[in-house]
Point group: C2
Chain length 223, copies 2
């Protein structure tokens, strides 16, 4: 059985969980905090990052969320998530990078630092200037999602794809940490609430990470 090394607020692990669930691949959760990683974990992933997917019986280890998603896209036919023409596939991968890198650097990363790491690891107060900056950047990214959803039912085109899973994974962590103000983003909100009601998403929304509590709307499907 696959074992997923992760922690509840890791957006890259959430993307992998959404993909595995959409594709009907079973796995068990294995808690690992990268800031406090075990030697066993470093041996599995020399980059020291979550997610890692490991099958002890098959002696298979997969690292990096994009490499993991490509692996399951190549091995499991159900619910293709990097699908279509070569141009469409390039568009999916462009958006995956945009959310994994730009959205993470601008929004999710700073929120995790200020509201998770400072609270439960560093025991410092958050930097309110950095939080305001991250929330401002979130508006810019939601504007871009509004724009995409104005012309396409899903982020990368006519079908749900890894771009949607990636964006939803990042946004869900930012939303948990109180970083998303949905007002003025009707298209993004509509797209995200369809997502929130999917069976793949429900387990993520019901999890909590230690003392950190999300805002009331976080796990409400119509929130």
């Amino acid at each position: 059985m696959w074992r997923l090394y992760q922690f509840p607020l890791c957006p890259f692990s959430r993307k992998v969980r959404l993909l595995l669930s959409e594709k009907g691949v079973g796995y068990e959760l294995w808690r690992e905090n990268p800031w406090d990683a075990s030697d066993e974990f470093w041996a599995l992933n020399p980059a020291g990052r979550t997610p890692v997917l490991h099958d002890p019986e098959k002696k298979t280890t997969l690292c990096d969320s994009r490499a993991i998603c490509e692996y399951f896209e190549e091995t499991v036919d159900q619910s293709p998530m990097i699908n279509g023409t070569v141009k469409e596939r390039a568009e999916i991968r462009r958006l995956v990078a945009l959310f994994d890198e730009n959205f993470f650097t601008d929004v999710t990363g700073p929120l995790l630092q200020e509201r998770m790491k400072k609270r439960i690891v560093l025991r410092q107060p958050p930097d309110s200037r950095r939080l305001r900056e991250a929330m401002k950047m979130a508006h810019g990214h939601l504007d871009y999602i509004d724009y995409l959803i104005d012309t396409r039912p899903w982020l990368a085109g006519s079908r749900m794809s890894l771009a949607d899973l990636t964006a939803a994974a990042q946004i869900s962590v930012a939303d948990y940490l109180g970083g998303i103000d949905w007002s003025g983003h009707e298209q993004s909100k509509g797209w995200y609430s369809v997502f929130k009601s999917r069976p793949s998403f429900r387990p993520l929304l019901s999890e909590r990470m230690e003392v950190i509590t999300p805002p009331a709307h976080y796990s409400q499907v119509d929130g």
Copy 2:
């Protein structure tokens, strides 16, 4: 004809150039500095990053170096670079992420900031503490390459792959900026010098970026 938006020291653009050259795909270079990007460039890539590959006639735009490489892997049979079993392909992609993300964050990114951006954009002196830290991190990454090359002819296994192109692209920029001390890294040095003599690599090594000059060994094949 493909037009590659890039600047000479962008490691992600170098990876794409190596791949296109190995695959025999023609393109023209188009200079773009992301810190000073034109509106035309932002319209092509809402992430505002190089590399972007654009074909004005075909009206095709590809963004993000990994998405670009996957596109050419899917469309051009010559010199497969993400090849082998699904496990081997996952290993290639793991290493691509390791060099694009960890090596870049630890080494190439800080060197570009201190030795390129501060020199030609910000007109500030480099922070010598950050430079020392980046060079120390480079040693750690070269240790890992030494370890891989001890057991495999190429980074991801028995064949040259996108992992090698990615690592070589990052290392070449770090080396240009004086951040690589090769002493004590015989395996890495051997692997890299084989690479440096490839026809795909030669044009990169002869280019210079403005007033920034590389160390003498940088473009010597036996250096």
